[in-house]
């Protein structure tokens, strides 16, 4: 082999190597501003997830990376992914309470209440719980039919922050379930005073007004809730209840169906199934009413609307 050929081979290897290196580096996101501090400040959700997928492949022991990816998924409401990433981050860093809070919130959204409660209890036990934490614990208590505990936790939230809108909402919800309508009405109003854009306090008021037979006012409240969130399933539920009381059974069925298509938690789903059972009864569809009653009571044996429907079947 002559020297020219050897030089040629050496050159070719050098060209290949340096180009390969260029290719490798251009595909690498780590230089420039793509660092985790940057992500903390300006989260871009989708871009962050894509970046972090690769970052975490290279740094599988980075708790900060998993936490950042969990936060990025949370922005888009992909809660199952939030939980997965928080699990991995917590495994690597058990002291970061923010991770428990984020996972608790994600589990709360996914309706996995016992697990969510465990995470928030961990925060409460550490003495770092905020008004929002106690408020969420109160809402979870209500989902689990622990109404007294729900009120107690809402009160703790209000001790932390006297004007915390979610705390008033949580307490109103528990009071409504306990049949303390005057207190619930007052708390729902206070929640709205603190923050006008929350739809659920309007739904609570609509529910109370429906129970009191003030159907027109209830409809108005449900519509107020829908103005704030057109996809508020609970508001459609109360609209359906009002329409049922006004004997507009087909409209009521549509409204309750809308609410069921939007329900993300069993708490509301049970209530809505119970109400649909009542509508089916009025439409003389006893079989369907029975099915809904059974489904609602399976989810929540204390579901008021399902119990009422069961009595009528």
């Amino acid at each position: 082999m002559n020297s020219n050929r050897l030089i040629g081979i050496f050159e070719s290897i050098l060209i290949g190597a340096v180009v390969f290196l260029n290719g490798l580096i251009i595909q690498t996101p780590l230089p420039d501003s793509w660092d985790l501090k940057f992500l903390d400040k300006f989260s871009q959700a989708i871009g962050d997830v894509a970046f972090l997928d690769i970052y975490l492949k290279r740094n599988p022991k980075s708790a900060t990376g998993y936490a950042a990816r969990a936060r990025a998924y949370a922005i888009d409401g992909i809660w199952t992914e939030v939980v997965k990433n928080c699990d991995q981050a917590i495994e690597l860093d058990k002291d970061d309470l923010a991770l428990f809070r984020l996972r608790g919130k994600a589990l709360f959204e996914l309706d996995e209440n016992a697990k969510a409660l465990a995470d928030f209890n961990h925060i409460v036990d550490s003495g770092s719980a905020t008004a929002e934490d106690f408020s969420i614990v109160s809402l979870i208590d209500t989902r689990l039919n622990r109404f007294d505990s729900a009120i107690a936790n809402a009160n703790k939230a209000l001790e932390k922050h006297a004007y915390w809108s979610t705390a008033f909402e949580a307490r109103a919800l528990a009071e409504y379930e306990l049949g303390e309508y005057d207190k619930a009405m007052l708390d729902a109003q206070k929640s709205i005073e603190m923050y006008k854009e929350r739809p659920i306090p309007f739904v609570i008021m609509a529910a109370i007004l429906n129970d009191r037979g003030e159907t027109d006012k209830a409809i108005s409240m449900a519509r107020d809730a829908l103005k704030r969130d057109a996809a508020c399933g609970a508001a459609y539920w109360q609209l359906g209840v009002s329409q049922d009381k006004l004997k507009q059974f087909n409209d009521a069925l549509s409204s309750v169906n809308f609410s069921l298509s939007l329900a993300t938690t069993d708490e509301w789903r049970a209530k809505e199934l119970g109400s649909r059972a009542l509508v089916y009864l009025h439409l003389e569809k006893a079989d369907l009413a029975r099915q809904d009653c059974d489904a609602a009571l399976k989810i929540n044996p204390l579901c008021k609307s399902a119990i009422e429907a069961r009595k009528q079947i």
């Binding site: 420039d32 871009q44 298509s261 939007l262």
Partner: protein, 540 residues
């Protein structure tokens, strides 16, 4: 023997084009094969339109979109082949795009190869950096592979080289010129914004020819690529008229888009800071600006820099004119400045080599004089290799600062994947009514379901919503009412197994649920529950 040597001499060392090609395209192939299900959302959407055509649903009668209907027809043969041979659509599409890149690269080599000895030394030495820059740019496009902007840059790169060679008074292959003109013209018809870059460069070539008294070189009517571009631009609208119900596109969709496309606009600050939530391609803004300014500073050193800067600026104009801030809109601009940066780094490499050769008092092969064909082939070839290696080494620190890898900045989040897999089976109709494009695509394509709604995504809703607030309210109220009627008809006629209504768009949701016809048609459906921002219904 002598003839062979002459042949060799006039060509830029082939290994400087082949080795980077093999290495970088292999890296791209690895990237494609390592994520076989990944496909760009826009490509998935257009491929799905082609699938629907194969199923017997035609654009404007079976489904509606802003993209010219011919776009969907163009992909029908590809989908037909995939269906016939049971090929995975996403992977095959990505491999086809890789094939496009390879073909473009080979054709580009064939374009510059001819008459290479008539280039100035600096233009000649810049072939390697330019081509390497082109390959590196393709490597970071991995998420946007096959996106219309990506295909435009592929065809326009060839168009650019052809026009550049013609301006220098050099011959080009007629067949390559015609093929390039047709391809580039077709892409520009599909997305007319791209014409801005083609016209801007054409103006540049014209003024350059006039100012440098090379008017004879600028023979527009003898340039086959231009004639083919114009011919295909004229032919596409004519062919479009053969598409059934094409009137609907020109009478209904075009006026809507012309009046309402600004509904998707973002604020100027978001637009110019390149901070789209869908990832971004533009790297460190300061580094980018620095390279463009350096390009401006070195503009006289090579005939490639000025047109590349015009390309970059016109690419920026395309991005700014669209006003949406979406990452892929910046693809032509990013290609322009990345190629500019490659040349700048290449020029810097040559500057260093000149400095080095002066210090060593060795021969100067880096000047801008015309290549002396009497120089030994070995020396010229070695000069090119050394210049290329210097360029490649110098560009390493800047590679990732100039551009963000698209697969590292863009991702499709799993929104409806689980529920579609759980509640339906392949080929089933699903109706996804959303203004969130990427919630529906690519999942519909990946899971082999069919979008039952004629609105493959609700592109019209944000536009009509905006226009309803304007002076022509009655007209657009009517348009919105038609939309709701069409949704009802789609549910009634195609009986989708699953319906998913986007919860995020308030008015869409409100208007749908307040319409008695919607309530009626949903009687055949059982509400499932809310999931990842969608209200879900299943056929009873």
């Amino acid at each position: 023997m002598e003839a062979n040597q002459n042949n060799d001499r006039r060509f830029y060392p082939l290994k400087l084009l082949v080795i980077p090609g093999v290495v970088l395209l292999s890296q791209l192939l690895f990237s494609i094969l390592s994520q076989p299900d990944t496909i760009n959302h826009d490509c998935a959407f257009i491929l799905h339109g082609a699938q629907l055509i194969l199923d017997g649903r035609h654009p404007m009668s079976g489904f509606l979109d802003m993209a010219p209907p011919i776009t969907f027809y163009a992909l029908v043969p590809f989908c037909f082949l995939c269906q016939s041979f049971a090929l995975p659509l996403a992977l095959t599409w990505n491999l086809l795009c890789l094939g496009f890149i390879c073909a473009t690269y080979i054709l580009a080599i064939l374009i510059v190869e001819k008459d290479a000895d008539k280039h100035t030394a600096r233009d000649w030495l810049m072939v390697g950096p330019l081509f390497c820059g082109f390959l590196l740019w393709n490597l970071v496009m991995s998420y946007h592979l096959g996106q219309r902007e990506h295909l435009f840059v592929l065809t326009f790169f060839l168009f650019f080289l052809l026009r550049w060679k013609r301006l220098l008074g050099l011959e080009v292959d007629k067949r390559i010129a015609i093929g390039t003109g047709i391809a580039c013209g077709f892409i520009c018809f599909v997305k007319p914004y791209f014409c801005a870059t083609v016209f801007a460069l054409e103006l540049y070539w014209f003024f350059n020819a006039v100012l440098r008294k090379r008017r004879t070189n600028y023979a527009l009517l003898r340039a086959q690529e231009v004639l083919a571009f114009v011919a295909i631009g004229a032919a596409c609208p004519l062919v479009s008229f053969a598409i059934p119900n094409i009137g609907e596109y020109y009478d209904r969709i075009i006026p809507l888009v012309v009046n309402g496309y600004q509904a998707f606009d973002v604020s100027k600050s978001a637009l110019f800071s390149f901070e789209s939530i869908h990832g971004q391609l533009v790297g460190n803004r300061l580094v980018v600006i620095a390279f463009v300014l350096l390009g401006l500073f070195l503009i006289r050193t090579t005939s490639l820099l000025a047109p590349l800067l015009v390309w970059t600026i016109s690419g920026f104009a395309i991005y700014a004119l669209q006003g949406k801030g979406w990452a892929y809109h910046s693809i032509p601009m990013v290609a322009g400045y990345y190629l500019t940066a490659s040349i700048v780094v290449g020029m810097f490499a040559i500057y260093l080599l000149r400095l080095f050769s002066r210090l060593n008092k060795s021969g100067d092969y880096w000047s801008s004089k015309t290549i002396n064909t009497d120089e030994s082939h070995m020396v010229l070839s070695q000069s090119a290799v050394i210049a290329f290696l210097f360029y490649a080494a110098l560009s390493i620190p800047f590679a990732a600062s100039l551009i963000h890898n698209s697969s590292v900045s863009a991702k499709i989040l799993p929104v409806l994947d689980t529920v579609i897999a759980r509640e339906t089976k392949p080929k089933d109709n699903v109706l996804i009514l959303t203004t969130n494009f990427s919630a529906a695509f690519p999942v519909v394509l990946q899971t082999d379901r069919r979008q039952a709604a004629r609105y493959l995504w609700c592109f019209n809703v944000p536009m009509v919503e905006m226009l309803r607030k304007g002076p022509d309210r009655e007209k657009w109220d009517g348009e919105y009412a038609s939309f709701i009627r069409e949704v009802v008809a789609d549910i009634r006629d195609s009986k989708p197994k699953l319906i998913a209504f986007d919860k995020w768009n308030d008015s869409l949701h409100r208007d749908l649920f307040q319409d008695p016809a919607v309530s009626e048609v949903l009687n055949g459906y059982e509400p499932l529950r809310g999931e990842n921002g969608f209200a879900l219904w299943k056929l009873k």
